[in-house]
């Protein structure tokens, strides 16, 4: 089947959805449900599971039509759901029944998803995590603590990575599950961050039970399954198209233009350096997309997360230095969650500045990202690992 024909199919399906379910008048779940039924949620998924079995590149064709008609950006409404859970469930669920049960409400955003990976004792060294899952008949019994879980308080489902065998080296003893966040023994508490807000949660899991049918992938294969999720996370964080001067650098240029009274030559050059770096990265993302259409993504595709995170910090750091003493004021530290309505959720310049500190930690620290670039793209040798080959239970922790 030619690409032209597939493209026509996607285009026609998108126009039909928009005509029959006007996104400006029907509720969002109805519209997104229609998109799922038409195979436009993830066009590369099989038919019946929210896709049309066509090339992934055609998603942009569908999204443009749906969003131009006023449709929402689903990734923004259910980020872990669309970005991470969907590809993992599709690839690793044990049956199509489970896939169908989980994917449609995910797509409509009636079921919000969260990711239960990081733990107080396992950040960059995710494979060292300690939350345990012990088989009990047709169920698994889970105990442990997860942290940095966005949206856990609103989530119906969680992507859970847990240790099922402490007696083998750390990567080999992990298994991947879908946890019902409403199950007994799952308790979610907001985690207040340095901005004063609580975008994230801690999740305490005590004797929570998961049916074995909600295991994703084989027992002991959790690390490989988790890689599906993480690769999708990183490409979701680094990959979307943007206009020249959009995003954080646009904030800085607009702030600069609005305050000629604060201009100095030194600040001007600093802003120009940042602008050039943002533009270089934007062009690099464009180049990455161009090369992805003619073959696999090249090394240029792997640098977006690293550059974007550091650039964001430098840009808002610049804004603070531009403002000088005015930047010392804040909206107050009354606690609220990240999804406040009304104004741009990123808040004031000062809040964006404080929030940017997380950018080089979340989704892979910059240290880990540089290791990945050096080892996977440049082919340099890996770090020495003191725990190599050691059974998990013998690895020193602290």
């Amino acid at each position: 089947m030619s690409a032209g024909t597939d493209s026509d199919r996607v285009t026609q399906a998108a126009h039909r959805v928009v005509a029959e379910h006007d996104p400006r008048s029907v509720p969002i779940p109805e519209f997104l449900g229609a998109c799922f039924d038409a195979g436009l949620s993830w066009v590369h998924f099989p038919e019946g599971l929210g896709g049309l079995g066509v090339s992934r590149g055609l998603q942009a064709v569908a999204d443009r039509i749906l969003q131009d008609a006023g449709g929402p950006v689903p990734l923004a409404l259910n980020p872990m759901g669309y970005g991470m859970a969907a590809p993992t469930v599709r690839e690793h669920a044990q049956s199509d029944d489970v896939r169908k049960t989980l994917l449609r409400p995910l797509a409509t955003t009636e079921d919000i998803w969260c990711q239960l990976f990081s733990e107080p004792g396992a950040g960059s060294d995710l494979a060292g995590l300690a939350t345990s899952a012990v088989a009990d008949g047709e169920n698994w019994v889970v105990n442990g603590q997860k942290v940095w879980t966005s949206l856990a308080h609103r989530a119906r489902w969680g992507l859970l990575l847990a240790r099922t065998d402490p007696n083998v080296p750390k990567h080999r003893g992990l298994t991947y599950f879908v946890l019902d966040m409403h199950a007994d023994g799952v308790q979610t508490r907001p985690l207040r961050q340095l901005t004063g807000h609580a975008e994230f949660n801690e999740v305490y899991i005590t004797d929570a039970r998961i049916p074995d049918s909600y295991r994703l992938g084989a027992v002991g294969d959790g690390w490989r399954v988790a890689m599906t999720t993480l690769m999708n996370e990183r490409s979701a964080l680094g990959g979307s198209a943007s206009r020249r001067g959009a995003g954080a650098i646009g904030d800085a240029v607009a702030l600069w233009a609005s305050r000629p009274d604060l201009h100095t030559p030194v600040l001007r050059d600093r802003l120009t350096i940042l602008w050039l770096r943002a533009e270089s990265q934007r062009l690099t993302s464009e180049r990455s997309r161009a090369s992805a259409t003619v073959g696999g993504p090249g090394p240029e595709g792997s640098i977006g997360k690293l550059v974007g995170a550091e650039l964001n910090q430098h840009i808002y750091g610049f804004c603070m230095d531009l403002l000088g003493p005015e930047g010392l004021l804040y909206d107050g530290y009354a606690m609220r969650d990240g999804a406040a309505s009304g104004e741009d959720w990123r808040g004031s310049v000062q809040q964006r500045f404080l929030r940017s500190r997380a950018n080089t930690i979340e989704g892979g620290t910059s240290e880990v990202m540089r290791n990945i670039l050096a080892e996977r793209v440049l082919g340099l040798p890996g770090d020495l690992r003191a725990d190599a080959g050691m059974p998990w239970k013998e690895i020193p922790r602290g």
Binding site: D251, L283, I303, V349, N371
Partner: protein
């Protein structure tokens, strides 16, 4: 931008490209492979070292083969003028490989500047009026063929043409023109057969062709930091000259040549930086200290990861500039901005990678014997030519900082109560 496009010489004779940005054709990939193979044999390190200590500092036979056999010196020259009739993208592919090898020869003077200037002049009204089209065509054919070389004796100011900075005067004679004046530090002038000179005539600055070996021309070769990219001061004293573009067109022709030259120079920087990064990575894998490859230390591997980022950014900006200059679609690609973005980014990237290459290699990287210093010197030379990174940053600032694309974000004033209400 219609205004920018209108600035181009009318009917500029380079072919406009319709290939999607950042994608290369199979023919271009073959061209790249062919040049890489050629350079491995005829522009390897020992050839480069032999050339840079010779006079002139290049192998005329190899240069002639690049022109006549491979046909890579005039890829964007129209076929009617003896070129390949290709696009600037083709030329960029060749330059990237020649830059990676540090191939010796008057690329800067001949390929980056004089050829684009002559191609632009062909499209200007003056050449046809003064009947010089055939002479420009002959010269282009000889330059593209590698049988003659040329240098661009136009003193740019930070990569831009400044009529006030022209230091040569043109006086009419009964046969044509006579030029008098001095142009300092002209790259590739020492061995050039002809010089393209900016000079002030009665109507303003024009561009003139001068036989470099003719009367009234003195060239004083200078010792340069980079032995592979020679310079000479050109002194003209009533040197006979032929008008190439008069006052009405000279500024546009020179601007076009400087933009094309800047973009090709940026691509050269990318090619050379990629070569160095490959070299450093191989060394970091092979060199053992403390019983481990030095590339397994994060201090080393993270430095190289940063170089990879700098290189990939540079590549994107250099290609973007090439596409902006060859764009046939007339959309909003702004060549002036694209060229300054590329020059600012690639100059910084190549010097960073070259600096890190010496550091990663440790003591051996500081020796004359190791090739790192050849590239390091080229990096600083390329960065300074046609405008430094700082000068291009200043231009970028002028072009983009005054035009916010959106509203400024809210600044907290300390009076809201934590609800984030707009002030």
């Amino acid at each position: 931008m219609a205004e920018k496009l209108a600035d181009q010489p009318e009917g500029a004779a380079e072919k406009l490209a319709d290939q999607p940005e950042f994608t290369f054709t199979d023919e271009q990939k073959q061209l790249r492979a062919a040049l890489r193979a050629f350079c491995a044999e005829y522009a390897d390190e020992s050839s480069v070292r032999a050339s840079m200590e010779s006079d002139p500092p290049f192998d005329a036979k190899v240069w002639s083969r690049l022109g006549s056999e491979l046909g890579v010196l005039g890829l964007a020259v129209p076929e009617a003028q003896g070129g390949a009739g290709g696009t600037l993208i083709d030329q960029a592919v060749a330059v990237e490989e020649l830059g990676a090898a540090l191939a010796c020869g008057p690329l800067f003077g001949t390929v980056y500047l004089v050829i684009p200037a002559l191609v632009a002049a062909l499209g200007s009204g003056d050449a046809s009026e003064s009947g010089d089209i055939s002479k420009i065509g002959e010269e282009l054919a000889a330059l593209a063929d590698g049988t003659r070389t040329a240098a661009f004796a136009v003193g740019d100011v930070a990569g831009e043409f400044d009529a006030a900075a022209v230091t040569v005067d043109a006086a009419p004679t009964h046969q044509g023109w006579a030029l008098t004046g001095t142009v300092p530090r002209v790259v590739d002038a020492g061995a050039a057969d002809s010089l393209l000179v900016a000079a002030k005539g009665p109507d303003g600055p024009g561009i003139y062709a001068v036989d470099a070996k003719g009367p009234g021309v003195q060239r004083i070769s200078l010792n340069t930091l980079d032995l592979t990219r020679p310079q000479a001061t050109v002194e003209l004293s009533d040197a006979p000259a032929r008008l190439v573009a008069g006052a009405d067109y000279a500024a546009r022709v020179i601007t076009r040549a400087l933009q094309v030259g800047s973009a090709l120079l940026a691509v050269e920087q990318v090619g050379a930086a990629q070569h160095l990064l490959d070299l450093s990575v191989e060394y970091a894998k092979a060199r053992l200290q403390f019983g481990r490859p030095i590339g397994s230390f994060q201090a080393v591997k993270h430095r190289l990861a940063d170089d990879l980022v700098a290189l990939e950014h540079a590549r994107s900006t250099a290609y973007h500039a090439i596409w902006a200059l060859s764009d046939g679609t007339g959309d909003a690609l702004d060549p002036e901005l694209a060229v300054s973005i590329a020059q600012a980014t690639c100059s910084a990237a190549f010097t960073q990678v070259a600096t890190d290459t010496i550091q990663v290699h440790g003591g051996i990287g500081f020796t004359w014997e190791h090739q790192a210093h050849l590239y390091y010197k080229r990096a600083y030379t390329d960065a300074a030519l046609l405008g430094t990174a700082e000068q291009h940053r200043a231009r970028v600032a002028e072009l983009v900082l005054g035009v916010p694309g959106k509203d400024a974000p809210r600044v907290a004033t300390g009076t809201a109560t934590g609800t984030g209400a707009p002030s």
